[in-house]
Symmetry: C3
Subunit: 146 residues, 3 copies
């Protein structure tokens, strides 16, 4: 049941707090560099902070979706671990991108690697559940029995 996925929920809430932190940074940058909405154009440093938050926001739903599917269908512990790594990589992405465009690359690659791992977990988990439910085939049990 959903209530038992307390680890996934904890990582999710942490992710929401990170997104809130990024939003606040854009609001401070808007004040500091005097870029009043609806404008989104300003000095390069403002634009980097603005785009860093936009990019993280774009990937956030994807991250939450794969976190939960991988956690429910594959392994909650592994998903939570990957989730924490992803959130840490995104924090470094935001900080790196705020400083320079090149600074975003290393943490971006880390975050992408973790995301692909979670997507693999999702695929595997969905496949195993599919075999178990529709083909009455428990691959994991069969694996241990072999």
């Amino acid at each position: 049941m959903l209530e038992d996925s307390v680890g996934l929920a904890a990582v999710t809430v942490l992710g929401v707090l990170e997104q809130a932190y990024f939003c606040l940074q854009v609001i401070y940058a808007r004040r500091k560099f005097k870029v009043s909405p609806p404008s989104t154009a300003g000095p390069p440093q403002f634009e980097r902070i603005f785009r860093a938050q936009a990019n993280c926001s774009e990937y956030f739903p994807i991250f939450i979706i794969v976190l939960w599917i991988s956690g429910v269908f594959f392994s909650e512990a592994l998903s939570c671990l990957c989730g924490l790594l992803y959130l840490y990589a995104r924090l470094r992405y935001f900080q790196g991108y705020s400083e320079s465009a090149e600074g975003r690359l290393d943490p971006l690659y880390s975050s992408a690697r973790v995301l692909w791992l979670l997507i693999w977990f999702c695929g595997l988990g969905v496949l195993l559940s599919f075999c178990r439910i529709y083909l009455k085939l428990d691959l994991i049990k069969g694996f241990y029995a072999a």
Copy 2:
């Protein structure tokens, strides 16, 4: 079970309808102000409508996530109530921002307050579930027994 969270689902569907309404307003504004895609630059009123929808879209996944976690782990009734308040604040945000940049501020603060409340509920709910599941400690029951 998920099917029992019918209140959360109803608020979610209402939220989706609100987002659809915002998208339609951007489409009408594109026609009215003759701003053909892929361009997103135009007269200030267009840019305000465009940014209002973009901003609401950015926060929408965050809102849905905290709505559900708070509803499942803390209280469905309180979450639904906050959800309705949030959606109303976002409607006023969109309308206020369409008229002037200052018009967005009051409803933005309201929506942020409700979002923080939901985040608190999430944190509390996750903590209580954590204590109940992993520490076998029912804080709520202990609270009533004390």
Copy 3:
């Protein structure tokens, strides 16, 4: 239980892969047209690819939300079918928009039609569950009995 919604999960993972594909296309277009972040302005073809991915990302959370609510509260099979149609329409949207602004319109209308259908399913599913849980009224059974 969530684990039983393996069809919805499979469509969701497919959707995530599609979003990853769109992101990669933007990264390739940034290299090809030499548009370095944080800039988002460039030749029209780049801007169309950039906006196509941005638009799909904006709708992605909405799609996933209605897919699951419709699948859990109404019908998993119908939701999965609509989900596949939506993802196919979005692929054609991305390809059409990359080629010309008009090219995005037909697939956009298809995707919008499927989305509205899913929203109707959600509304119906939530209504039926509401009647069943709060009014102890099983409309579907009543329908067959009548």
